[in-house]
Amino acid sequence: MSNIVTKQAEQKLQSGAVKVDGPFWGALKRDLLLSYRRKSDLVNPLIFFLMVATLFPLGVSPEPQFLADVAPGVVWVAALLATLLSMDSLFRSDFEDGTLEQLLLSPQPLFMVVLAKVLAHWMLTGLPLTLLAPLLGVMLFLPGEGMFGLVLSLLLGTPTLSLVGAIGAALTVGLRKGGVLISLLVLPLYIPVLIFGTASIQAAITGLPLGGYLALLGAMLALGLVMAPLAISAALRISVSG
C-alpha cells in the first residue's frame, strides 16, 4: 500500500506536478486565467470599441467621403478610450483581496511581475482591439491602403497605452474613487501616441512613407518597456503604504 502511494508521489514529481513557475510566467498565467474566468471584463472594452464605431456615422454623417477622412482618428480615439476604460481594474481587485500585498512582499523582482501583469492586460485589450480594428476600418470606409498602417500603428501603440495607463492605475489604486483621476493623470501622456498613431495611418493612405511614424511609436514603446515598470512598482508601493 505504502509502496503504491510513494510510486504515485514519484510519478507526480516526474510529471512536473510540483513544478513551480518563475515570477514572470506565474503572474502572466494567473492574470490570463483570471480574465478567462471573468469573461465580462474581457468583452467590455471591445464592445465599447465597436459601439463608438457604429454610433459615430449615425451621429455625425453617413457620407463615405467624410467617414473615410475621419476614420483614422475615430478608430484611434476609440481604441485609446477603450484601453483607458479597462485600466482602472488592472490592480483594483488585487488590492481589495490582499494579493497585491503578497505580491509586494515577494522577494522576486517586482519589475518582472509588473511587466507580466501589463503584458497580460495588453493581450486581453490592446491585442483584440488591434485585431478588430480592420473591421472598424471597413465600417468607416477607410481606404484599403490605410489598413496596413492602422494595424501596425495600433500594434505598436496599444502596448504603450497599457504601460502608461498602468502607472496611473498603480498611483490611484489606493483611492476610493480612482477612475476619474486616472483619466486626468494619463490622458496627457496618451496624446503623443495618438498623434503619431493617426499620422502614420494618414501617411499610409496618401502613399507617404510611414516608417518614421512607426519608428517613433516603437521608440515610445521601448522607453515605456524599460521605464514604466519601475514607475509602476514604485507607485504600487506608495499606494499600498497609504
Binding site: V20, R37, L105, S106, S241
Partner: protein
C-alpha cells in the same frame, strides 16, 4: 594474506570514519559560526518607532527586540495600531520614523533577504475568489521561493480542504478562504511569520492546530509576531507587548 585483509579493511574503515568525522566537524563549526552571528544580533530589532495617523500618535519611541524561537503577541484595543505596527514590520507601510533591523542590518538595506525570510498573513487573506485553493497556492509559490509545493496535498489536508481542491474560492466560506491562506504556514520554510488576526473565522479545532503549529515553529528556531484577541494556549515562549500600556506610560 589472511592478515593483510583485515588490516586493509581497518585502514579503509578508519579513513572513512575520519572523513565523515572531518566533514561533520566542518559542518559543526559552520553551524556554530552561523549561530554566533545570529546570536550576536537579535533577529528583529525595533528602535524608536514612531507612527502617527490622522494626527493621532499610535506609538512613540517603541523599542523591542525579537529573538529566534520567540512568539510575540501584540495586544491592544481596536484602533490601537496593531495592524499598522505589523504592516510597518513587514515592510508594507512606510509611514513611520525610527529604525528596524533584520539580523543586525537595517531592513531597507537587506529588503530582498528580509522578504525571503518573511511570511505575512494580512487582514485580507490574499486569496483570489475565482481561483481554486490549489491555483492560489501555486501562484503564491511562484512569487515566494520558500514555499515547498511538494507538500501541497498534505497542507490542504491539514487545513481541512481535501475535496475542495478544484472548487473556486468564492464558493467556499469565509473561514475556508482564510484556511487557504493559512495553508501557507505548512508549506513555507520562512523563519519569520507575521500574522495579523490569523484566527478570525477559524473554528476551535483549527485554532488549536494553528497554535500547535506556531509553537512548533518557535521550537524549531522560528519567530512569530502576531495579533489576536484569542487567549493563546502557547507555553512560556510567548511574550506580550501591549500598545495601550505603552501609550499610557509615555
Amino acid at each position: 594474506m589472511t592478515q593483510l585483509c583485515p588490516t586493509t579493511t581497518y585502514f579503509v574503515y578508519n579513513a572513512l570514519l575520519s572523513a565523515v568525522f572531518a566533514k561533520n566537524i566542518g559542518r559543526f563549526a559552520a553551524s556554530v559560526a552561523f549561530e554566533v552571528v545570529l546570536l550576536s544580533a537579535p533577529r528583529l530589532k525595533i528602535e524608536n518607532l514612531f507612527c502617527e495617523r490622522d494626527e493621532r500618535i499610535l506609538f512613540d519611541q517603541l523599542c523591542f527586540d525579537v529573538e529566534a524561537g520567540e512568539v510575540v503577541q501584540i495586544e491592544g484595543q481596536n484602533g490601537s495600531g496593531k495592524t499598522t505596527l505589523l504592516r510597518i514590520l513587514s515592510g508594507l507601510s512606510r509611514n513611520f520614523e525610527g529604525e528596524i533591523y533584520w539580523q543586525g542590518e537595517p531592513v531597507q538595506e537587506c529588503a530582498e533577504s528580509f522578504r525571503e525570510s518573511l511570511l505575512y498573513f494580512g487582514h485580507q487573506p490574499g486569496v483570489k475568489a475565482v481561483l481554486t485553493p490549489e491555483e492560489n497556492l501555486r501562484w503564491y509559490a511562484s512569487m515566494h521561493p520558500t514555499i515547498d509545493l511538494s507538500k501541497l496535498d498534505y497542507a490542504l489536508a491539514r487545513v481541512g480542504l481535501t475535496g475542495y481542491e478544484d472548487a473556486p474560492c468564492h464558493t467556499l466560506s469565509a473561514g475556508q478562504n482564510r484556511r487557504v491562506s493559512l495553508a501557507r504556514l505548512y508549506l513555507s520554510s520562512a523563519p519569520l511569520w507575521i500574522l495579523d488576526e490569523p484566527f478570525t473565522a477559524i473554528d476551535k479545532r483549527g485554532v488549536a492546530e494553528k497554535e500547535a503549529l506556531i509553537e512548533e515553529h518557535a521550537a524549531q528556531g522560528g519567530t512569530v509576531i502576531l495579533t489576536t484577541h484569542h487567549e493563546l494556549a502557547i507555553g512560556d515562549r510567548i511574550r506580550r507587548i501591549n500598545l495601550d500600556q505603552l501609550m499610557g506610560t509615555s
